[in-house]
């Protein structure tokens, strides 16, 4: 019954629309790819090249003027501005601090949760939660936790009088300025949020190390310390390098956490390059041309650093 019914339905359709049959696999493939490709060109490729062009102009997105070609003036301005170098410096410090802390803590956590204990699965999942939250949300609620008058953190630390308590995000302690405190506060949140990511990658690396290597080391009378440096670290190194690569790229362009917590303040103590970029491009200044140039400088720095990492990673892999 059913088969004959199907045959009755399908044969006239085929007769009416023979071109359906003739559409090649290639055409179908292209049709499926086309929307993605169009979107990619419109949202990524075009802006990429357009901003490259704009970086050589004095264009401002709110001025009703066509862009005027100014050559490398924007780049010269940025690279000769001592203020900018300070922002690069802040970004570098931020990157160095967050990535190194995340590596040390992530490695330690991975070593801990690698061991099977009651509830180790749940503990691992709980540790991963910060990583899954939105950075803006994280920035916002840490801002509240850091609040000197009613923040949770000061209360936990036993400061009940705001006049002697640290105001983390304002870089002051008992109304006295402590430069750098805000940067460390932001670094702390970044570490809190992204250490699980490093832990996850290191953990998968640790689990892939075959037991017999440790057995061989035990027979060879290697101490735990020796085993850690001569077996564990080299074996995990490729995955650790990937974690470091990802975290370095993210830290160099970190924006949302900093913007959400300090907006670059107090003063410009936490003004990392991405925050400054945002300020240049949108907040009151609208220097689209110079912002584009700055964006390109950041891009080049990131590509250069990534390249170094990838080369090192390939050397590790070959060995």
């Amino acid at each position: 019954m059913t088969s004959s019914a199907q045959a009755n339905v399908s044969s006239p359709v085929r007769a009416e629309k023979p071109q359906r049959k003739q559409m090649s696999d290639m055409t179908i493939r292209n049709l499926f790819i086309a929307p993605t490709l169009l979107l990619l060109i419109a949202m990524n490729v075009f802006p990429l090249f357009y901003s490259l062009y704009l970086s050589f102009t004095n264009y401002s997105a709110i001025a009703r003027k066509a862009p005027v070609w100014v050559g490398i003036e924007n780049y010269v301005n940025i690279l000769t501005d001592p203020q900018m170098w300070q922002y690069f410096n802040t970004t570098g410090k931020y990157t160095l601090l967050t990535v190194s802390l995340q590596v040390v803590l992530g490695f330690a956590l991975a070593m801990l949760v690698k061991e099977k204990f009651a509830g180790s699965g749940i503990v691992t999942t709980l540790i991963l939660i910060p990583m899954m939250l939105s950075p803006v949300v994280v920035g916002l609620f840490w801002k509240y936790m850091y609040n000197p008058s009613w923040g949770y953190l000061n209360w936990l630390m036993g400061f009940t009088n705001p006049s002697v308590a640290p105001d983390w995000l304002a870089s002051s302690w008992a109304r006295k300025s402590v430069p750098g405190l805000a940067l460390f506060a932001v670094v702390f949140v970044d570490v809190w949020m992204w250490t699980p990511f490093v832990m996850l990658l290191v953990l998968s690396g640790l689990k892939a190390i075959p037991d017999y290597l440790y057995e061989a080391a035990a027979i060879d009378r290697a101490s735990s310390w020796f085993q850690f440096w001569r077996i564990t670290v080299p074996q995990v190194a490729p995955l650790l390098m990937i974690a470091i690569l990802f975290r370095t790229i993210e830290a160099l362009k970190s924006f949302d956490l900093v913007m959400g917590m300090t907006g670059g303040g107090p003063g410009d103590q936490t003004e990392v390059i991405a925050v400054n970029l945002y300020r240049k491009a949108f907040l009151g200044q609208w220097q689209t041309g110079e912002a584009s140039a700055l964006a390109y400088i950041v891009l080049i720095i990131i590509i250069a650093i990534s390249n170094l990492y990838v080369r090192y990673l390939n050397r590790l892999r070959e060995g």
Binding site: A216, D220, R230, I231, Q235, A237
Partner: protein, 382 residues
């Protein structure tokens, strides 16, 4: 000197035995093979000796000193792993140097010793390579060198040839044997390959189902297996085993007219061990049968395997019973032909049909009595 003494060692996981209690003394310089099918507990036994696995009971002694709870690295024994366990990220030279560096030897001495070992194994050309680039045989040579470098009192080898291609296996077998003879270190060697065990070992410990089945020289386990398991497991094909009721000095074997007369020296023992009319198992190796037109036993040729140097006849007694007979490669019998043969009385063994244990001696003629006994839990209970 390294005499390894196992006293009633056992390994249990909950109620399940991985190794049932047994005792064994391995003399200095002896090459002992632990042989058995996978899962029989041979590797667990070796790992207990090495200290990689703890014992559930019993003690292990090295030259009289109790080392049962000593850490693996401090037992002065080297372990060779089936999958080499070379450190992948460092060169061959560093791999071999690893045990010496781990114990903090001075650098100049380390490489002097590495060079010595390397020349013994003739792997000078591999020194600067990473383990990943080596063939299986070379990897195992490097692993042997690493084991050798600390001049251990004993070598423990866990199927070192198991992961190798057949072409390397035989040459590596000879190499390990040569190494053993030149270092004269006590060696315990785990394998599931009975040819390997027969070819290399001074003594074989046959294990099955967590239990030691027999301890003996290769000749012992081949010619005088202690029970049916050993009889079947050793040799390829295994021993021919035929069951039949004993009537007086004769055994009625399957097939028509197959009456086997028990050789005179064994009659008394056999009559004492099996009641009249009860089954007894007659065992003989394929080469113990001699084709003979006046032979007492007869069957039909079922298949013939030409194996180059000799021919293997499959002779069926009845639909359930096929025996293997080794004969000259020039002998030709068509399938279905009836053949008659005799058994060499020196090479016939008898087994109890219910306990499956050998009746009579479990040492082949001409071997010195061994000071070792395998006392398993059942025997102790009995």
């Amino acid at each position: 000197m390294a005499t390894i003494e196992l006293r009633n060692i056992e390994k249990r996981f909950g109620e399940t035995y991985a190794v049932k209690p047994f005792s064994l003394t391995i003399q200095h310089g002896e090459f002992v093979a632990l042989l058995g099918p996978s899962g029989c507990g041979k590797t667990t036994t070796l790992r207990m000796i090495s200290g990689l696995e703890t014992v559930s009971g019993g003690t292990i002694h090295l030259d009289g000193a109790n080392i049962t709870w000593q850490k693996p690295g401090y037992r002065n024994m080297a372990f060779v792993f089936q999958f080499y366990a070379l450190y992948p990220h460092i060169s061959v030279r560093e791999n071999i140097a690893f045990p010496l560096k781990a114990e903090g030897m001075a650098k100049s001495d380390v490489y002097k010793r590495v060079d010595e070992v390397v020349s013994i194994l003739r792997i000078e050309n591999l020194l600067n390579m990473r383990p990943g680039k080596l063939s299986g045989g070379d990897k195992q040579r490097v692993a042997l060198a690493r084991a050798l470098v600390r001049k251990p009192a004993a070598f423990l080898m866990d199927e070192p040839l198991g992961a190798l291609d057949a072409e390397y296996r035989e040459s590596m077998r000879a190499e390990i044997k040569r190494l053993h003879l030149s270092t004269n270190a006590t060696t315990v060697y785990v394998t599931h390959d009975q040819v390997e065990a027969m070819a290399m070992a001074d003594r074989i410990v046959v294990m099955s189902a967590a239990e030691v089945q027999q301890v003996g020289t290769p000749a012992d386990v081949y010619h005088a297996p202690a029970n049916l398991f050993v009889a079947r497991f050793i040799g390829s094909p295994g021993m021919n085993l035929l069951a039949g009721p004993r009537r007086g000095e004769k055994v009625e074997l399957p097939g028509t007219g197959n009456i086997y007369t028990i050789p005179a020296p064994q009659r008394e023992v056999l009559q004492a061990a099996t009641p009249e009319g009860k089954n007894v198992i007659v065992g003989f190796r394929p080469e113990a049968a001699m084709l003979n037109e006046q032979g007492a036993l007869t069957g039909e040729v079922y298949a013939t395997d030409m194996l180059g140097a000799y021919k293997l006849l499959h002779v069926s007694f009845d639909s359930d019973t096929v025996v293997h007979i080794r004969c000259d490669r020039m002998v030709s019998h068509p399938i279905g032909a009836r053949v008659r043969f005799d058994l060499d009385p020196q090479q016939v063994r008898f087994f109890d049909a219910t306990t499956e244990k050998a009746i009579g001696p479990t040492q082949s003629a001409g071997t010195a009595p061994i000071s070792v006994q395998a006392a398993n839990a059942q025997e102790k209970a009995a």
